[in-house]
């Protein structure tokens, strides 16, 4: 609120005081309950949900893709990025997801300052776009991979799978391993996938 002049402030306060007494008079006129009950009526209730799906306490289920990533020492930058982009609860949902998870070294290989820059709050959209380019909404198991297959990613762009001997590549990144999670599958990759420039 902009600063008020002294005079306006006085007027404003007077108005509030008058309003208070007027409403109090009418209020007590209408009510005959005890003061204690009136106090209770003004109790403020906190309606804020306490957390998203990532905060659910569950020691029985298999780990979801977020928990798997958090448990991996090679994916600390990815986890930091997911948090900065506000995608942790999304990735803990029922999915299903295929996640291509670049290792820390892949992020380190990007031009100096790229990661730090993406992690800045003002670049949240750009970061989210990069991360969503690593996620498909479906479970693509490698037994069903086809050479040249296009996968539609969460950011709306496509990636391409190619076969390289008995190994698979996603765009120019090598798939170096996979982990099943409760809500999908994670492929560990050695390069960060950079989405095509926005048209």
């Amino acid at each position: 609120m902009k600063k008020m002049t002294f005079r306006k402030r006085i007027l404003y306060r007077s108005f509030l005081v008058i309003l208070f007494f007027v409403s109090l008079t009418i209020y007590t006129g209408c009510k005959s309950e005890s003061a204690e009950e009136e106090q209770q009526e003004e109790q403020v209730v906190d309606n804020t949900p306490k957390g998203g799906q990532a905060s659910v306490q569950d020691e029985s289920s298999e780990q979801d893709v977020v928990k798997v990533a958090v448990a991996s020492p090679d994916h600390t930058i990815l986890v930091t990025a997911l948090k900065a982009a506000g995608l942790v609860d999304v990735m803990a949902s029922s999915g299903p997801y295929t996640v291509f998870a670049p290792v820390n070294a892949a992020f380190d290989a990007l031009p100096t300052g790229t990661v730090d820059n993406l992690l800045k709050p003002e670049n949240k959209d750009a970061l989210s776009n990069v991360l969503q380019y690593h996620v498909a909404v479906a479970v693509y198991k490698d037994v069903y991979f086809k050479d040249g297959q296009k996968l539609g990613m969460a950011n709306g762009e496509n990636v391409v799978l190619t076969k390289n001997g008995d190994k698979w590549k996603i765009n120019d990144a090598n798939i170096v391993g996979s982990v099943m999670a409760s809500n999908g599958i994670i492929y560990v990759i050695d390069k960060v996938l950079l989405p095509p420039d926005k048209k």
Binding site: M1, K2, M4, K8, Y12, F15, L16, L19, V22, S23, I26, Y27, C30, K31, E33, E37, E38, Q40, E41, Q43, V45, D46, N47, P49, K50, G51, V56, D58, S60, S61, E62, D64, S94, G95, P96, V137, A138, V139, Y144, S182, N183, G184
Partner: protein
């Protein structure tokens, strides 16, 4: 900005004036603090689990208190197409009886298992009136684990109240019937040929598994309610009975002739001794015992044809009658076990019997004759006191932790609070309308939680927005923490909330299971991964070993079914993730759908009647690609040669 603020304040002031006066005109029946006492914030938990019977729904309903939020309906005695209970092959045996498959039930009294007279949160027992049965629900999974039929019984109403350490759950018979002799007799020969039976059902300490230990032959009265003793009276169980007139028609008038009917006191420890001493006779009525095999996730039905029957004539000191005013209904035992309150629904007072005086009267042989050879104790020798003019139609009593009792009054639609020992009425509150049972959390145990009483009402009328002629029944939450009872909340119920039990949430939620472990699933048709899925024909029987996981069905193309085949879809949910059930539905299925929990296998029988392509799909919105979780079954003519073929992603 400032102008907006001023307008806002003016609007707020005006609104509060209007609302304030509006409330005054339509006078509220609850205190101003009622809302804050029942409000449970989004994301926060209720303090108590409440289990209500569904009455004619045959099921159990789980609510949270104080919010009155419905948490779940648990299928027990009635088929439930929603999740396939009673339709799928694994649960169908649960509803087998000596009368064949009975797809429905009338469930009345939920009773939590007890340790040292207090609810222990392990199991919930509930009776079925019509086809006499008792079910046990496992409170780790909130599923029906077992149902045992009660032979030689009709109208299993005084049931299934556990003894102090759940050594037994005890049942009686509302309708007397011919039991020991010829069963094909004229109804008018009631007095000569009809008998009642009381059943002691043993509960295994570890597994909870029930078995009928023995029955006790009793006179042809209508046994109405039952409560086991506790504390000092722990070896006893008490029944009310009406129709001591032994009438067999127009009960409305003929069963209300006598000024006094009876309370029957049974020493179950003595019965146990007589049984061990070989005093019981063998009987040969047929009954079923159905239970879930956790390993195969499938219910097993056992037909049993023998049972033991004790005749009180051979068992002196085992049972006694105490006279009780006019057609008593409810019977309830105070937290210490000393007072036994029996409510005669047609009586103008509530008699309270003393356990201590009862034992002294038995020892001093203070008898007033006998009924069918069973000694009748003198009323004045066993009575502790009478609550005078409590209200009209007293039915049931529960207790708090401060020495007060709360009795429901059906006719005068109120709860009456009175003091144990002085028997004086100290408070009363109207309920809306026609209350049956009432329930204080732990109010039937040694340590009641004297915070609330819940009124379980039979008549709703104008309490909610109308829904045509058929209305839901209703529960009301009443604060009993102070001197005066205060109404807090009304909430509608599913079926008839006949009776209820409630316990602090911690006791149950800490044990609540999240998933079924796939490695522990030994269902004969389970698949542990997609590579094990297959389709096998055996004559006209076809078994589909199917798996579900986000977000596809394996196999999703099946050919080679023929008209006239009996197809079993054995569907395993491969998920190991909390709250990711999958459904299974196929077009035109005359059975039900399936709802399959993570790690569970369920089987639905499908008998295709026409040639064509039949789509199937997941019927539980499981994931973003739920709608893609679908497939096709091809049904060929009866005499065709279409080979069995199945695939995924071909």
């Amino acid at each position: 900005m400032k102008n907006i603020n001023l307008k806002l304040f003016a609007a707020v002031a005006l609104t509060s004036v209007v609302l304030g006066c509006g409330q005054k005109e339509k006078k509220s029946v609850v205190g101003n603090d009622a809302a804050s006492k029942v409000y449970v914030e989004p994301g926060k938990y209720d303090d108590f689990y409440m289990f209500t019977s569904g009455g004619f729904s045959g099921q159990v309903n789980v609510y949270g208190l104080p919010s009155g939020r419905l948490l779940k309906v648990l299928p027990v005695f009635s088929q439930n197409a929603e999740n396939g209970y009673g339709y799928c092959e694994e649960t169908k045996p649960m509803l087998m009886t000596s009368h064949g498959f009975v797809p429905w039930g009338d469930a009345h009294h939920p009773a939590l298992s007890k340790t040292d007279g207090n609810a222990d949160g392990r199991w919930l027992f509930i009776n079925e009136n019509n086809t006499p049965r008792i079910a046990r629900l496992d409170l780790k999974t909130f599923t029906t684990a077992e149902i045992i039929e009660i032979p030689n019984s009709s109208g299993n109403h005084p049931s299934p109240y556990p003894t102090e350490n759940t050594e037994y759950v005890i049942a009686g018979t509302r309708f007397s019937i011919p039991i020991t002799g010829n069963l094909d007799v004229p109804i008018s020969s009631y007095k000569e040929n009809f008998q009642g039976a009381i059943s002691l059902i043993k509960v295994d300490k570890e597994s909870g598994k029930m078995s009928l230990a023995t029955q006790i032959l009793v006179p042809p009265f209508d046994f109405d309610k039952n409560r086991a003793g506790k504390g000092v009276s722990r070896d006893w169980t008490f029944f009310t009975c009406y129709n001591s007139e032994e009438s067999h028609t127009m009960f409305e008038a003929n069963a209300s002739q006598n000024d006094k009917d009876f309370v029957l006191a049974v020493n179950w420890k003595k019965a146990e001794e007589y049984l061990a001493a070989g005093k019981a006779k063998d009987m040969n009525s047929t009954y079923y015992h159905n239970y879930m095999d956790e390993s195969t996730q499938s219910a097993v039905s056992e037909k049993i044809t023998t049972q033991k029957m004790l005749d009180p004539k051979d068992c002196p000191g085992m049972i006694y009658f105490m006279p009780c005013p006019k057609s008593p209904h409810g019977i309830d035992v105070s937290p210490t076990g000393e007072y036994i309150v029996a409510s005669g629904k047609l009586a103008s007072l509530i008699p309270v019997f003393s356990y201590d005086k009862m034992i002294k009267a038995i020892e001093g042989k203070k008898f007033d004759g006998d009924a069918f050879g069973i000694p009748i104790l003198k009323y004045e020798e066993v009575i502790a006191g009478e609550v005078q003019k409590p209200g009209l139609g007293p039915l049931h009593t529960e207790f708090d932790d401060k020495g007060f009792a709360y009795t429901s009054m059906f006719l005068s639609s109120e709860i009456v609070k009175w003091k144990l020992g002085t028997w004086e009425v100290v408070d009363r509150i109207p309920v809306y309308y026609s209350i049956g049972h009432l329930m204080v959390p732990g109010g039937d145990s040694k340590n009641p939680f004297g915070k609330y009483v819940v009124a379980l009402n039979k008549i709703t009328k104008d309490r909610y927005l109308p829904t045509g002629p058929e209305l839901s029944q209703s529960a009301q939450l009443i604060d009993i923490s102070g001197d005066k009872m205060k109404l807090l909340l009304d909430f509608p119920t599913i079926g008839e909330p006949h009776y209820a039990q409630a316990v602090p949430a911690d006791l149950i939620m800490k044990n609540s299971q999240k998933i079924y472990k796939l490695e522990d699933n030994h269902h004969p048709y389970a698949v542990k991964n997609e590579s094990e899925t297959k389709v096998v024909r055996k004559g006209n029987e076809v078994h589909v070993y199917m798996s579900l996981i986000r977000s596809h069905i394996a196999p999703d193309n099946i050919e080679g079914f023929k008209v006239g085949d009996v197809v079993y879809f054995h569907v395993t949910n491969l998920e190991q993730d909390w709250d990711v059930p999958h459904g299974f539905a196929i077009k035109g299925c005359n059975n039900s759908e399936l709802l399959i929990m993570p790690g569970e296998t369920r089987t639905i029988k499908w008998e295709p009647l026409e040639v064509g392509i039949f789509p199937f799909y997941c019927s539980d919105f499981c994931s973003a690609l739920h709608q893609e979780m679908q497939g096709y079954a091809r049904v060929s003519p009866k005499n065709s040669n279409t080979p069995i073929k199945w695939s995924l992603n071909e």
